[in-house]
């Protein structure tokens, strides 16, 4: 049975080769079975483990999260990054269960997420309403000046032709109005339901999943949609291609960049994040976004450059 012996030997060699290859490929990083939610047992996080910093699945939010992360690291905190965690409903669940302990948020949308009926509209009102609206395990720090709000944009040509510069003007428009934005916008208070409630405008909705990116802008330009949801800190809004419709009824709340943090961590990280937020203006945010979109830099590089320029690193 020599053939079988040979075969067994080969089998062993082969198995070894496969094993070696797999081991090599597995070197990428740590234990593949280790769950990412390392913070879950500590509830709201603690001083001992690393602080898990999260971000939305939005490039600009990731830049802010990266700035927070690097600033914390510079102040001696251990940080773990868990970026690009979908939209609010997903990452706030992760904040509530403790698997993420810090995330940059936009104050108004966050408030409406917990209190859809809120009357607060201004930066100050929203900021003062937030602590009560949030679950006890979560706290907000002082907001930055920087705002990045949802906004409805039409082409300059459309605005001129129809004399539409404000959401209130839409009621007098005869044609069908199609709104484009991320899928979740369809049910947000500042989405089609809000347009109907605040301005009496009934719209069709088209879901485009690029968070007001190039597809949404293309769709506005080529008429696939009448108006699109683009965030106000988008550098492309300065090009003059679009007219951002005014919101006289304040359907859309003030959206100041605001850190949400696990309550038991709040005190520790406040000095670091306050220092960052004090310098984060809307102009600064637009410039950060432009570095990403136009200069194609990654968020870590952009964050380091900004922190260095501002003397925080």
């Amino acid at each position: 049975m020599s053939i079988r012996t040979v075969r067994k030997g080969r089998l062993a060699t082969g198995a070894f080769a496969v094993g070696a290859v797999l081991a090599l490929a597995a070197c990428g990083s740590g234990d593949p079975l280790a769950p990412e939610d390392s913070g879950s047992e500590t509830g709201g996080g603690s001083a001992s483990g690393p602080i898990v910093v999260g971000s939305q699945a939005y490039y600009s939010n990731e830049i802010i999260a990266e700035i927070y992360a690097q600033a914390l690291e510079a102040d001696g905190f251990e940080v773990e990054r868990q970026f690009q965690i979908g939209q609010r409903d997903v990452y706030m669940a992760a904040m509530e269960d403790g698997s993420v302990q810090l995330i940059p948020e936009y104050s108004g949308n966050l408030l409406q997420f917990y209190d859809a009926e809120t009357e607060a509209r201004s930066t100050e009102d929203v900021a003062s309403a937030l602590p009560d609206a949030l679950p006890e395990s979560l706290a907000v720090l002082d907001p930055a000046d920087a705002q990045d709000a949802d906004s409805y944009n039409v082409t300059a040509a459309f605005s001129e032709e129809n004399g539409i510069t404000s959401l209130a003007d839409l009621a007098g428009y005869d044609g069908t109005i199609t709104v484009g934005g991320n899928a979740e916008l369809e049910s947000r208070p500042y989405g089609p339901p809000g347009l109907s409630e605040f301005y009496g405008v009934e719209v069709e909705f088209l879901a485009i999943g690029d968070s007001g990116g190039p597809l949404t802008k293309d769709a506005i330009r080529d008429g696939t949609i009448t108006m699109g949801d683009i965030y106000t800190a988008d550098p492309d809004l300065a090009t003059g291609d679009f007219v951002t419709l005014e919101d006289p009824e304040s359907m859309i709340l003030a959206q100041n960049v605001t850190p949400v943090v696990a309550t038991d961590l709040a005190e520790e990280v406040t000095p670091t994040l306050d220092a960052v937020n004090a310098l984060l203006t809307t102009e600064a945010l637009i410039a950060l976004n432009a570095s990403s979109v136009n200069d194609e830099q990654d968020s870590a590089t952009i964050a380091t450059a900004w922190l260095t320029d501002n003397g925080l690193l």
Binding site: A183, E186, S187, A207, I208, G209, L215, D218, A219
Partner: protein, 248 residues
Amino acid sequence: MNLFQDALAWLTDPERSAGPNPLVDRIGEHLWYTLLALVVSALIAIPLGYLIGHTGRGRQLAVLGSGAARALPSLGLLTIFTLLVGVGNAQVAAIAVFVILGVPSILAGAYAGVEAVDRTVVDAARAMGMTETQILFRVEAPLGLPLLLGGLRSAALQIIATAVLAAYVGLGGLGIYIQRGISLRTYDEMLGGAILIVLLALAVDALFAIGERVARRAIGSGPTRSRPRPDRPEPLTTDQQSTLEEIR
């Protein structure tokens, strides 16, 4: 299962026909993309498959090509194509992605069908004075129909499952419920959408199964009862049987 009850409640909610995002529209979009992609894939893959099956050349190339097609991530292709052609032509981009997905299975079905035809039958046709074209279209293609349908069936199922991604580039379809569900964390919507897609897949699957059965009956059980090929002494019966099951 509470989740499944929620999903059923979501599916049967009158909002599904009256409210925004009516089910019928989204199902219609989903089926339309699937059908369109399937037709385009078939127009590309069937002639190519027949050529490979009839001449017996290029099989390795076909295997290599399908491997390559499979390695291409659909989400990446969809985003890059849409970015390149613009959202106004997103449908073209999406169909291109689905065609890349569908071609390999149909190609395999077409060529396996032709290849599986008993060589003695082909030789007999040739002896009767049939031209190569006549042999292909009057003998090989009809006898290979069940296997071709199997390939189409497999392609259709893959396209239905992948058409979920169309929602990301503004094309709607049933993926919209899953996308919204993920963003809003509404499991009833997500699961409802997923159930619909699975049901759609099952319905299409059943349709093709019936088609295959009819085709097989029409050609008198065709290639499954062939005699051994002179150049390959081993019995082919179980092999071909499994070809039929495999390609489904």
